[in-house]
Amino acid sequence: MKKYLEYVIVIGILLITLVGVLIYKKSTLKPYDRNYFYMDTYINVKLYSNSENKALKALDEIDKIFMEYHNLTDMYNSYEGGLYNLNNGSTSVNPKLKDIISYGYSWYSKSDGLLNIAIGNVSSLWKEYIKKEDGVPKLSTLEKLNINIKDVIINDNITLNNNVKIDLGAIAKGYTCDEVAKYLKSIGITKYIINAGGNVLVGEKVKEDGYKIGIQSPYEDDKLVKILKISDKAIVTSGGYNRGYTYNGVKYNHIINPKTLYPANNMLSVTVISSSSALADALSTTLFLMDVETGMEFIKAYDAEAIWYLKDNVYMTDGFKNYE
């Protein structure tokens, strides 16, 4: 009888421990992540969930979202209702693409013409030079290309007049990251890191401090200039020469100023933090095209912070240090 009792105790302890482990595992948020290759970028999404099934389904769904927006905003390959077709004479445009274009269009007046989605003809020509890493297009050639935003007509459909072409490079990634975050929130996943290279968007914090997000140094590629602690925010960098080239000792980046038709060279990089990734993306491009002083004033109208890196100087908005 005594022996029997001992077995019950041992088995009891085992069972309780097992149940404890199972409950612990179930209640613990685990990270799940996946790589994606869209929009000419390496993208990694990590989300925290207590259900593997739900997490994996979400990662599959996110693949579809990125693919859809990649196809819609691709300038070089044809997809139904997509940008390539629109740029080449089609007027039937996917409603989601129309939304991005409308968003981008609104930035023309907000940025006093610096963020101009109608820059397609000029940016495409520069991309050819960036690709071959040789030569620089002539100003007279660039000036003949139409980048007039007034030739973009948005009604029920979108009409592009006088061969004007749209380039959504400045906002497509940021906009899409917001869409991915919206989807995650809609299925109850609130903790996540969406990392699309120069665009990072994070959800609610997992650890007390929030997420630790490094900013790649514009001075030395293999260093970080800052490590920020952020949650529920988007952080976007514009600048750097990773997508540019050097010719005759001069470095050319890929962000073209629509007023000069040449790459901007006010600074090495600018990083923006705000609650929307589309906003941070648009703002960072706009700030990159302005001198720091103008940008400092400009950003005051937005719920956003920024840090500017110049060759010999660093500037930041007052609120930026709250993230350090």
Binding site: I9, V10, I13, G20, V21, I193, N199, K212, I215
Partner: protein, 119 residues
């Protein structure tokens, strides 16, 4: 219960606790992880100097480990950005070969993400 039974009970309990702890602790170490597209294809011990070859989208990608650092030494791509990048050794760094859909990361990062100069 005799002494042995108590020892048995205690050891079961300790083993269970250990299991709990191990579930919780993330694995850390001097390891590089190589991904092809969305799949992890190789874990590399950075403490041993060696050369590895993996299949990328355009063909073979060669990785070289030396003195705890890793680099892509050979790959097929238009601009060879990732082999031009050279060695990485910091945990927050990664090598990204877009045309080959190969990503190399170091496994013990305290940093959740890096905003890169790609925009």
């Amino acid at each position: 219960m005799n002494k042995q039974d108590i020892i048995l009970c205690l050891s079961v309990f300790i083993i269970a606790l250990l299991v709990l702890v191990f579930i919780r602790l993330p694995k850390k170490g001097n390891v590089a992880i190589v991904y092809y597209d969305n799949k992890e294809i190789l874990k590399i011990n950075l403490k041993i100097d060696n050369t590895y070859t993996v299949k990328g989208y355009n063909g073979d990608v060669t990785l070289e480990v030396s003195n705890g650092k890793i680099k892509v030494s050979d790959e097929i791509s238009p601009k060879h950005l990732c082999s031009r990048q050279g060695y990485i050794s910091n945990s927050y760094e990664s090598i990204i070969c877009l045309p080959n859909k190969i990503v190399v990361k170091i496994d013990d990062s305290e940093i959740d993400a890096v905003v890169m100069l790609w925009n």
